[in-house]
C-alpha cells in the first residue's frame, strides 16, 4: 500500500515538474495554478505514503536510504508549500519541483526493504533527531535554491544583458529575503537536531559522545558555515551575492554530510 502511494506521489511530482517547466517558458498564470494544485496533491500522497510506511514498519520511517531521501524530498515539498502561504517567490516552484523530483528518483532507486530496527536505535530520539535534522536540511535546500536564483538574476543585472531569466526570476530583494527566512528557520532547527543527536549519542556511548568520524566533522563544518553567515548578516549586514554564494556552498556541505550519514548505514556511528 505504502509503495503504491509512493509511486503515485512520484508520478504526481513528475507531472508537477513538467507543468512548472512549461509555465517557466510560457509564463501563463493558468498553468501555474494547475501546477500548484498538482504539487499539493503530490505532497499529500507522499504524506500518506510516509504514514502508511510508519504503520507497516512500526517505527519512524527515516532509517534506510530510501526512507531518508524520500523524507527529505517530502520536507522540501512541504516547506515550499508552507512558504506559499507567507509570501510568493515568483517561479521558485519550477526549481523546487525539479529538485524534489530528482530526490524521489534517487529514493526510488534505493532498496525499499523494511529493515528491522537495531536495538540501540529504539529510542524516542530517533524521530526527533532525524526528522528535525531533515526538515532543517529542507529549509537550507530552499535557501540554496533561492541563492542559486539570486546569483542568476544578479548576473543578468550586473552584466546588463537581459536574457531568458531576467523577466522570469523574482527581484533580488525577494530572493535575499527568502534566503534570510529559510536560514533563520533552518539554522535553529539544524542546531536543535544536532543537539538531539548529541543527547542520543550520550545515551548510547555514555561519556564519550564525540567521535571523530567524517560525518560529525562535516556536520560541524556545515554548522559553522551557517553560524558564520547568520552572524555576518546580523552584525555587518552581509547580504546579496556574498550571502547567496555562502548559502550554496554551505548546502553542498549539507549534502556531503547527508551522504556520509547515508553511507554510514542506518545507525551512523561507524
Amino acid at each position: 500500500m505504502s509503495y503504491l502511494l509512493f509511486q503515485a506521489g512520484f508520478a504526481a511530482y513528475f507531472v508537477t515538474a513538467v507543468i512548472y517547466t512549461v509555465f517557466f517558458f510560457s509564463q501563463k498564470n493558468k498553468i501555474r495554478n494547475v501546477a500548484r494544485i498538482i504539487f499539493i496533491v503530490a505532497a499529500s500522497l507522499h504524506t500518506l505514503n510516509i504514514i502508511f510506511r510508519y504503520i507497516e514498519a512500526g517505527h519512524t520511517p527515516i532509517t534506510s536510504i530510501h526512507e531518508t531521501i524520500s523524507f527529505f524530498a517530502w520536507s522540501i515539498a512541504c516547506c515550499h508549500l508552507s512558504f506559499r502561504w507567507r509570501y510568493t517567490v515568483k517561479n521558485s516552484g519550477t526549481f523546487t519541483s525539479i529538485i524534489v523530483l530528482l530526490l524521489m528518483l534517487a529514493s526510488s532507486l534505493a532498496s525499499r526493504e523494511l529493515l528491522p530496527l537495531p536495538p540501540e536505535m529504539r529510542s524516542w530520539l530517533l524521530p526527533v533527531h532525524a526528522s528535525i535534522s531533515i526538515i532543517a536540511d529542507a529549509f537550507l535546500a530552499l535557501a540554496a535554491i533561492g541563492g542559486g536564483m539570486y546569483l542568476l538574476q544578479e548576473r543578468e543585472l550586473k552584466q546588463k544583458r537581459f536574457g531568458f531569466f531576467f523577466s522570469r526570476l523574482p527581484s533580488l530583494d525577494t530572493l535575499d529575503k527568502l534566503n534570510q527566512h529559510c536560514i533563520s528557520i533552518g539554522f535553529p532547527l539544524m542546531t536543535l537536531g544536532m543537539f538531539a543527536g548529541y543527547i542520543w549519542a550520550r545515551q548510547i556511548w555514555g561519556g564519550r559522545p564525540w567521535q571523530w568520524n567524517p560525518k560529525v566533522v562535516c556536520a560541524m563544518i556545515t554548522w559553522l558555515f551557517y553560524a558564520g553567515l547568520m552572524h555576518q548578516r546580523f552584525t555587518l549586514g552581509w547580504r546579496g551575492r556574498r550571502a547567496a554564494w555562502i548559502t550554496v556552498i554551505a548546502f553542498c556541505a549539507v549534502l556531503l554530510t547527508f551522504w556520509f550519514v547515508l553511507s554510514g548505514g542506518a545507525i551512523h556511528a561507524t
Partner: protein, 432 residues
C-alpha cells in the same frame, strides 16, 4: 543655378557608442556653436540639436560635400579625431534628411520609441536657431512641419502609450532590484527635465521621498517642492546617500561627479543595502567602476536602452503606422519643396490663370446669343491676353536676378499672393 540641398549630419545612440557621443555633446548650449557656424558662408540656413542621445546639424547649402566637411571640422575639431567621426556620422540629403527629421520629431528614432521629450528638445533647439536668425525659409517650414508630424503621429497612433522614456526603464529595473519601490528614497543629482520626469514616474510607484541636489540651490528647492521633498547642495550628496536607495544623475558637468572611492566606505555604513544608480547625463556623471561594487547597480543611458529593447515588439506595430504617416508627410513636404523652384511655380501660375480663364469663359459664353465662331475666338483670345498681361510682371519678378530679395523668398511671395499651393491642390483634385 543648382538647387539647394538640405543636409542632415548627426550621431545618435544607435550607431555611436556613448563614449564618443559624450565628447561630441554640445554641453555649452546652442548659442556658441550657432555663432561659430555663421563663419561658414556656404551655409544658407542651419540649426543644431543636441540631446543626450543625439547630436544633429541640419543645414541648407549649395555644395553638400564641401559643407559637410567644413561643418564637422568646425564643430568637433579637437573633440574627436576625424577617423572616429567618419565612422559614426550619418549623412542624409534632401528627401532622406526630411524623413529623418520627421522620424526624430515623432520619436520613432528615439532610444525609447514613442517618448515625448524629444519634441520639447527639438522646439528648444529650433527656438535658439530662430532667435539667432540662422533658420530661414526652408528650415522654418521644415521644423514647423516636423512638429505637426509629431502631433499627428501622437494622435493617430498609440505609440506613446507604453513609453515614458527613461523613467520606464528606471522603474522596471528598480523593481527587479528592490522588489517593491514603496518606501524607497530617490535622489536627483542635477535638476534636468529628464530626471524630473523619471522622478515623477518613480513617485507614482510609491517612492517615499525625493531628495534633490543641484548646483543652484534655488532650482533644487523648486523641484523638491514639486515632490514635497527636500533640497541639498551638491557637496552633501555622498553623505545623504546613506539614506537613499536610487540615485538619478543628470548634471551638465563635464567630468565625473561621483567616484567608486566615494561609495566604498558608504556600503558598510549602509549595511550593504543595495544602491541603484542611474546615469542619464551625457557626458557621464558617475564612474563606470561603481558597477563593480557588490550590491551596487549602475546603469548609464546605453544600458537602459537594453531594458527598453525588451518591450519593443508591441510597439513595433504602432511604429509601422507611424512610419506611414512620416512617409506621407515627407512626400507632401517634398512636393512643397519642389514647388519652391522657379519653373514649377511658373507652370502652376499659368495653370491657375488658365483655369480661371476657362471658368469665366464657360460662365459668360453661353449667355451671349447669336455670336459667330470668329467673335467667340476673339473673346477667348482677349481673356487669355488679359491674364497673360497680368502675369507678365510676377513672372519677370520670379525670374530676374533681384538684388535685395532672395529668389526663394520671391517664390514664396508669388505663391502666397496667388495662393498657388491651395489652388493647385484644387486643380489636381478636380482633375482626379
Amino acid at each position: 543655378m543648382r538647387r539647394d540641398s538640405i543636409v542632415l549630419l548627426g550621431v545618435n545612440h544607435k550607431k555611436t557608442p556613448l563614449k564618443i557621443r559624450e565628447k561630441m555633446a554640445l554641453t555649452g548650449g546652442y548659442v556658441e556653436p550657432l555663432e561659430k557656424l555663421r563663419e561658414l558662408d556656404g551655409l544658407k540656413e542651419y540649426y543644431l540639436l543636441s540631446t543626450c542621445n543625439r547630436v544633429e546639424v541640419l543645414f541648407v547649402c549649395q555644395d553638400p560635400e564641401r559643407m559637410r566637411r567644413e561643418v564637422l571640422d568646425l564643430l568637433f575639431a579637437g573633440k574627436v579625431s576625424r577617423e572616429e567621426v567618419a565612422g559614426c556620422f550619418y549623412v542624409y540629403e534632401n528627401e532622406e534628411a526630411i524623413r529623418h527629421l520627421f522620424m526624430v520629431s515623432s520619436s520613432l528614432d528615439s532610444m525609447i520609441v514613442g517618448e515625448s521629450q524629444i519634441l520639447g528638445q527639438l522646439k528648444e533647439a529650433f527656438r535658439h536657431a530662430a532667435e539667432q536668425k540662422t533658420a530661414g525659409l526652408i528650415i522654418n517650414k521644415l521644423l514647423h512641419k516636423s512638429f505637426s508630424v509629431a502631433k499627428r503621429v501622437r494622435t493617430e497612433t498609440r505609440i506613446g502609450a507604453n513609453a515614458v522614456s527613461i523613467s520606464y526603464a528606471a522603474v522596471e529595473l528598480g523593481r527587479k532590484i528592490f522588489g517593491d519601490l514603496r518606501g524607497k528614497r530617490v535622489m536627483l543629482v542635477g535638476a534636468g527635465e529628464m530626471a524630473e520626469l523619471a522622478a515623477e514616474h518613480l513617485v507614482g510607484q510609491g517612492i517615499q521621498e525625493v531628495v534633490v541636489a543641484n548646483r543652484t540651490l534655488e532650482r533644487a528647492m523648486k523641484l523638491a517642492a514639486r515632490f514635497k521633498g527636500r533640497a541639498i547642495g551638491l557637496d552633501e550628496v555622498v553623505e545623504q546617500l546613506l539614506d537613499v536607495d536610487i540615485l538619478i544623475s543628470s548634471t551638465g558637468a563635464e567630468g565625473l561627479v561621483l567616484f567608486k572611492k566615494d561609495i566604498v566606505p558608504l556600503m558598510s555604513r549602509r549595511r550593504n543595502r543595495p544602491l541603484f544608480f542611474i546615469d542619464i547625463a551625457v557626458p557621464r556623471d558617475l564612474d563606470p567602476e561603481i558597477n563593480t561594487l557588490e550590491n551596487v547597480y549602475l546603469y548609464d543611458i546605453d544600458d537602459l536602452h537594453n531594458v527598453v529593447e525588451m518591450n519593443r515588439e508591441q510597439r513595433d506595430k504602432e511604429a509601422v503606422k507611424a512610419q506611414r504617416i512620416v512617409e506621407e508627410e515627407t512626400l507632401k513636404f517634398q512636393r512643397w519643396l519642389d514647388g519652391m523652384e522657379v519653373t514649377p511655380t511658373i507652370v502652376d501660375l499659368r495653370a491657375v490663370a488658365e483655369s480661371i480663364c476657362q471658368t469665366e469663359l464657360a460662365k459668360t459664353l453661353p449667355r451671349l446669343n447669336g455670336i459667330s465662331t470668329k467673335e467667340r475666338k476673339c473673346i477667348e483670345r482677349m481673356a487669355s491676353s488679359i491674364v497673360g498681361k497680368m502675369l507678365h510682371h510676377p513672372m519677370c519678378y520670379l525670374k530676374a536676378d533681384h538684388g535685395c530679395v532672395d529668389q526663394a523668398e520671391r517664390i514664396v511671395q508669388v505663391r502666397t499672393l496667388f495662393q498657388l499651393n491651395e489652388q493647385c491642390e484644387q486643380c489636381k483634385q478636380a482633375d482626379d
